[in-house]
Symmetry: C2
Subunit: 362 residues, 2 copies
């Protein structure tokens, strides 16, 4: 049987060697006699997993010492609420730079708890782009500025760290983290749920500059208090042990692949390969302006509904899975996370060219 | 090598057949071509897992139609905050019946958000017991009464559903759920994190009588709003797919074991076997009064520190693991969840008797 390639946006493909290792040691975690699924969250074996995951992240991302690296329940959505609950209110407000679905959702959730200023930065003309920073209606007095560096549904990304007057920059890197080096010190808080490049669903990673903790409000729910996670080295309650174990295994794999510079080059090459097919096509339409195109999540339209259906069905027959667009956008979406093998991108782009050629001849 | 028996309090032992099944299908979930670790949270394959887990719970526990069965992130601790945030405030208050560590923690967390009345019901005399219900200082006007039916650290349990004047009874059944039949209709909300009898860490199960939802406050965090979970059939954001899959497998196993009446009898027989050794012992001391003894978590003291250390070390040599008491209590704790085989209880009780006999002869 042909190898399956899975381009889902998250939960996403895991590297095959990671899956095989998990399977291999599932019944006895390294001589403990326990499955990792049974491992106590206060055991030495788990503390080692947690600490190695933190160290792996610190090494790969070169996280400065003044940042704490924390593990939380609930995915990135938890952060949408935690941020305003911890840091806003009592005259403090935040700016939310909105460039698509997820940054807008973060903004809407924050607005339920505090004053936030929605700064629209998505330009919807002939093509989609991000307005130049001079045009952003930001307020230097804002306690923080929040943005999402890569919008998975629109397929639009910031070309670099946005230039803003605020000192406290908060970023949702759920889809981009571990795909390229990041200058962590430019940020105050970075978060990412783990079901894309970091492992499985149910976990959220937070990197926070510790001096931010002095401003935390009371009361916030026990599991929504950043200070507690710092104080208790993330073990505020029973952590999702298995998800943190998978993260550590993924970090190991990233290291053996050569680290972030290598993965970044690979990501650029693959996405270029796919955009080339899109640019040469008269069937597939990606509407993001060059310069703002995501190298990670690449959506495109096929305007005829029957043709779209054919495309998805034939892709599936070729074991190219997870290509259906987000339910709010329709069309096709290709997510090119780290775990996708090059062969997957080759088979996909070949199929796309063939599919279009066949249609022109009928 | 001798089979390992693991008596940890949670994360706890999983049934061996469940572990083997997970391992068996880890690389390809039933012909989807994906690992269950990669399965999208909005795929038909996952919806089937979720729906089968709900149905499994409904069948085993005979959950009435007027209850919704929901899956949330974060374990039981999330409920400690969700309850007051959703239902208290604006003149509404709650009674918290306190019989040990976890009910007191739930109470303390609720008190951070709303008026709560801590109703002390633990009697600490010669032995530990629960005060008769006539003595509880409860207020019939309370919006709800919260209790924990089985305290895992004290090893104390309610002999039945407590008699209280409140109509709305909320129970933390984290350690007891699936160990015996429950008259669900006597409750308004039952919750349990899943790392004891239901699967792995990172998930919380909630059963809620739907008419309760009319009273929910605004705003509560997106992931802390019971109504959203009901409206979206638990898919409020990316759910911990794998934890729900493990739950479904555990429910299947419970069914093949004969269901809750059978597991209840087994639990009573095993705990009686262990209490017999404790009652005959001059070395091991359990301080809970008969009638209030937990059949699930059984703590006991060994008063000499060196002897305690010997006990734990020798137990480990016999592959009897996870016996260390909670860090707040010390001593020994035996958790006899469903997944422990009878042979584990036999080996443990034999070891305990031998250990004591050997000490008397030296």
């Amino acid at each position: 049987m042909q190898e399956v390639f899975y381009f889902g946006s998250g939960p996403a493909a895991l590297p095959r060697p990671v899956l095989e290792k998990i399977r291999h040691e599932l019944l006895d975690y390294r001589g403990t006699g326990l499955s990792v699924l049974e491992l106590p969250h206060r055991s030495d074996a788990f503390f080692e997993i947690r600490d190695q995951a933190v160290r792996g992240l610190r090494d790969l991302l070169q996280i400065p010492e003044e940042f704490a690296v924390l593990f939380m329940h609930g995915g990135a959505t938890s952060q949408f609420s935690m941020l305003p609950m911890n840091f806003l209110g009592s005259g403090r407000f935040a700016d939310y730079l909105c460039t698509g679905f997820w940054s807008s959702r973060a903004c809407a959730e924050a607005a339920r708890f505090a004053e936030v200023r929605k700064v629209q930065a998505l330009c919807k003309g002939e093509s989609l782009s991000i307005a130049p920073h001079e045009e952003w209606d930001v307020d230097p007095q804002a306690t923080y500025l929040h943005f999402c560096d890569n919008e998975t549904i629109q397929g639009i990304a910031f070309p670099g760290v946005p230039q803003v007057p605020q000192e406290v920059l908060v970023c949702d890197m759920t889809s981009s983290l571990l795909m390229h080096p990041v200058e962590i010190s430019k940020f105050s808080l970075i978060y990412a749920s783990t079901q894309k490049n970091l492992g499985i669903a149910g976990l959220c990673l937070v990197m926070i500059r510790k001096d931010l903790l002095e401003q935390v409000n009371e009361p916030v729910p026990r599991l929504y208090d950043y200070r507690r996670y710092v104080r208790e080295d993330s073990v505020v309650n029973t952590l999702p042990v298995f998800a943190i174990y998978v993260l550590r295994e993924v970090l190991d794999w990233v290291r053996t692949e050569g680290g972030l510079p290598v993965l970044h080059q690979r990501s650029l090459a693959r996405s270029a390969q796919l955009y080339r097919v899109l640019d040469e096509s008269r069937l597939y339409e990606n509407r993001v302006a060059p310069g703002f195109r995501s190298s990670i999540n690449i959506p495109f339209a096929i305007h005829d509904a029957g043709t779209l259906e054919d495309f998805l069905r034939q892709a599936e027959q070729r074991q190219l899975l997870g290509l259906q667009g987000h339910r709010s956008a329709g069309g096709v979406r290709v997510s090119l996370y780290n775990a996708i093998p090059d062969a997957g991108v080759d088979r996909l782009t070949e199929f796309m060219s063939e599919f279009e050629a066949r249609r022109q001849h009928t």
